[in-house]
């Protein structure tokens, strides 16, 4: 039953993925890491790592729009659970995101700095955690805010999250410099923990709530089409 449903939903879900934000975020990320090689511009390794991080943030911003579905109001009433719809979208994104990330790292290698020494594994964990936070945030916005467009809230939220991870006092900072003595620990516990928390958040917020809030309540009620949307 579920299998048939998944097969039936694959093609329409693929078609309705928000291609413009995904493509824009991905292209910007590639352009940023490609800039030092194209200009050419010599960057110290520490800065090159930061550049790859900004590219990861760019991709994560694209992913913040993953769950946006202009037709969300119509699918709220169908028996297909929201978890399945979200899972399908996320599953379709994964191979794309993986391919894109490999391309980002490959382009970063071309930079005139000593790119060969980039900590690929650690940066991949960071990028995965950021992207997961982004999608989880979108799921949370849909769950708690209602409406069909989560990206316009989830995108800035991911930027705020990244800025706070970079600006908090050093003890709690996750964006540490590559030569920081805590680099390994921060990735083993901090980033991996963030990734796990984001996946849990995505799962919890993708579950269909079993009780409905009254239509007039909540801040979804103020939306143009009311709150009877995709809950």
């Amino acid at each position: 039953m579920i299998r048939a449903l998944v097969v039936a939903l694959l093609a329409p879900t693929w078609r309705t993925l928000p291609w413009a934000p995904l493509a824009a975020g991905g292209t910007l990320g590639l352009a940023l890491v490609g800039a030092p090689a194209l200009l050419p511009l010599t960057l110290p390794p520490v800065v090159l790592v930061d550049l790859v991080r900004v590219a990861a943030l760019s991709g994560a911003l694209g992913a913040a729009f993953l769950l946006d579905d202009p037709a969300g109001h119509t699918t709220g009433a169908v028996p297909t659970p929201r978890l399945l719809r979200h899972s399908l979208r996320t599953a379709l994104l994964l191979p794309l995101a993986a391919g894109w990330w490999v391309a980002v790292l490959a382009v970063a290698r071309l930079a005139p700095a000593s790119g060969a020494g980039l900590p690929y594994g650690a940066l991949t964990v960071e990028a995965a955690a950021l992207t997961a936070c982004s999608v989880a945030c979108a799921a949370g916005v849909l769950r708690w805010g209602g409406g069909t467009a989560a990206g316009s809230t989830a995108g800035p939220a991911v930027i705020v999250l990244s800025a706070s991870l970079a600006a908090v006092p050093h003890r709690y900072r996750l964006f540490v410099a590559v030569d920081d003595p805590h680099w390994a620990d921060v990735h083993r516990y901090g980033w991996a923990g963030l990734l796990a928390a984001a996946v849990c958040g995505w799962f919890a917020w993708s579950l269909q709530p079993t009780t409905r809030r009254p239509v007039s309540g909540g801040f979804g009620g103020r939306r143009a089409f009311g709150a009877a949307g995709s809950r």
Binding site: A24, P36, L41, T42, L43, V47, V54, L61, P156, I159
Partner: protein, 530 residues
């Protein structure tokens, strides 16, 4: 056709009404923008960060020509929040499906764009007030020196305006909310990655809205080479161009708007070219002289047996330095404490647009003509002082240099002097006792240094030699610090002659001071002693 469906003949409202409508919309949007969650949060976080008590002790001794550009970075964050907020405001009617209703109102789309642009003014004024408050706070510090540049101070609010206007333009060009976060990423990349880290392309680096010049010690303001005025002109051109672009895109294609856009493009290009020219020859020559032979540019003031020579802007710190020097002198016996000493401020100004920004600099005055210059100016063997002050770390650095001079009779010779005898113990102990902050300063230096031994950096940020002790000597210093200060001070005064004799061993010094020296370890023997 009846009275209800009749088409009104005057489609355009009178100009005065339209103006009032634009202003009313601008007022409304201004309030919404200030209360936008991101803008509000950014403003609150930034204010809390500014007002947070504590902070580095050097904040009590602000150097205005550095403080002015440090106001910019925080405002850039508010500007990025304003970018997202202004973009959201432009797209709000689309997001809520109310775009069609605006067709019935008196305002055309381009007039609404004008209202959105006007709505940014209160936020910009607010950020300007924040900058003014920062300036006033710095000016009221007792240790303030230097001159602030109006252009640098105005750059922060200009950044906020630029980013917010970009938000409006993006809302008019891309009818989707993903453009604004991506623009934020571009700005972050431009400033924090390319603006900081790119080497080589100076002109390109300056195109970034916020150009950093970090890393070095402050310079006297007449040696600053930051093209702040041209950069502000460049930003003003960008703001006008972006704003005119937003009006053009939303249908306001009048000749005046087009002329404004072309004019702004010209201004922007002029600013971009002029800011990339680099320092003038006269400035380069002045910087070389300030680095190499500073005496001609400095003022000297005498305090008792000590003469302090500093760039005129920094002379208010003379009494601060003198407190430390008198503290060290007070620990020496009569006959030594009156010895003539000279302190001269040092800068390294021959690199980068505004001084030692980008890395390469000699560790020590190799190739500089300091000794010659000092002799000519009548201040032989002057102790180096820096252009940053405040806190125990700076105080102990100066105290150690003074103590070295009193104990050894001359300044450190090598780039980093490892002192492996009893005189090193004495120098360190004198330095820690100079003022109430110096011992804490040593602990804070050691807390963020690594490797064996104990070191005190140069008072002039690497321009003169720092002092290093092996663990063997530092253990004696620590033992001495555990003794009552008066007792240790009395022994130092009594045994000064023997303690400062050439070749006095650490063990002998420990014995004279009434403490025990630990045995020499293999690690200690690894050091290359001076």
């Amino acid at each position: 056709m009846n009275a209800l469906t009749a088409v009104r003949e005057t489609v355009d409202a009178p100009a005065a009404n339209r103006r009032r409508a634009v202003l009313a919309l601008a007022r409304f949007e201004a309030g919404r923008l200030l209360l936008h969650p991101l803008v509000f949060t950014a403003a609150v976080v930034y204010s809390v960060w500014l007002l947070w008590p504590g902070g580095s002790p050097q904040e009590s001794f602000p150097v205005l020509q550095d403080m002015d550009r440090e106001t910019q970075i925080g405002l850039e964050l508010i500007g990025l929040a304003a970018l997202v907020g202004a973009n959201g405001a432009v797209l709000r009617s689309r997001r809520h499906g109310t775009e069609a209703h605006f067709g019935t109102l008196v305002l055309r789309p381009w007039q609404r764009t004008c209202a959105h642009l006007l709505s940014l003014v209160p936020l910009v004024l607010l950020t300007a007030a924040v900058v003014a408050a920062q300036l006033v706070r710095a000016l009221t510090r007792p240790g303030v020196v230097g001159h602030a540049s109006v252009n640098e101070l105005a750059t922060g609010p200009a950044l906020v305006l630029l980013f917010a206007v970009v938000g409006v333009l993006l809302g008019r060009v891309f009818r989707s909310s993903f453009a604004a976060p991506l623009a934020v990423v571009v700005v972050i990349a431009l400033t924090f990655v390319f603006g900081v880290g790119a080497s080589g392309a100076e002109g390109f680096r300056r195109l970034s809205p916020l150009a950093f010049d970090e890393g070095g010690m402050p310079l006297p303001s007449h040696l600053m080479g930051r093209p702040a005025g041209w950069h502000l002109l460049y930003l003003a051109g960008l703001v006008t161009l972006t704003g005119a672009g937003a009006v053009l895109v939303s249908g306001g294609r009048s000749a005046a708007v087009k002329a404004t856009a072309f004019g702004a493009l010209a201004v922007c290009s002029v600013g971009a070219v002029l800011q990339s020219l680099g320092p003038s020859d006269a400035l380069r020559a002045a910087r070389e002289e300030a680095t190499d032979r500073p005496s001609s540019m400095q003022e000297c003031h005498r305090r008792g047996p000590t003469t302090y020579c500093a760039f005129p802007e920094f002379t208010p710190w003379t009494d601060e330095w003198d407190t430390v020097v008198r503290g060290v002198r007070g620990l020496a016996p009569d006959g030594v404490k009156e010895r003539r000493l000279y302190v001269r401020q040092r800068v390294f100004a021959t690199d980068g647009p505004s001084g030692p920004g980008s890395g390469t600099r000699p560790a020590v005055p190799s190739g500089l003509h300091w000794a010659e210059d000092d002799r000519a100016a009548g201040t032989p063997d002057a102790i180096a002082a820096g252009t940053a002050w405040g806190g125990g770390e700076k105080e102990i650095a100066l105290a150690a240099a003074v103590a070295h001079q009193l104990v050894m009779g001359h300044g450190p010779r090598a780039s980093s002097a490892v002192m492996c005898d009893g005189r090193g113990v004495l120098v360190f102990w004198l330095a820690t006792q100079a003022t109430e902050h110096t011992e804490g300063g040593l602990h804070s230096i050691l807390a963020h240094s690594f490797g064996g031994g104990a070191s005190i950096p140069s008072p002039a940020d690497g321009l003169s030699a720092g002092l290093v002790l092996r663990d063997h000597e530092y253990a004696v210093v620590r033992a001495l610090l555990d003794r009552p200060r008066a007792e240790a001070g009395a022994r130092v005064k009594a045994e000064w002659g023997q303690l400062t004799a050439e070749g006095v061993s650490t063990e002998r010094a420990a014995e004279l001071l009434g403490v025990k020296a630990p045995p020499l370890t293999d690690d200690d023997r690894q050091w290359g002693c001076q």
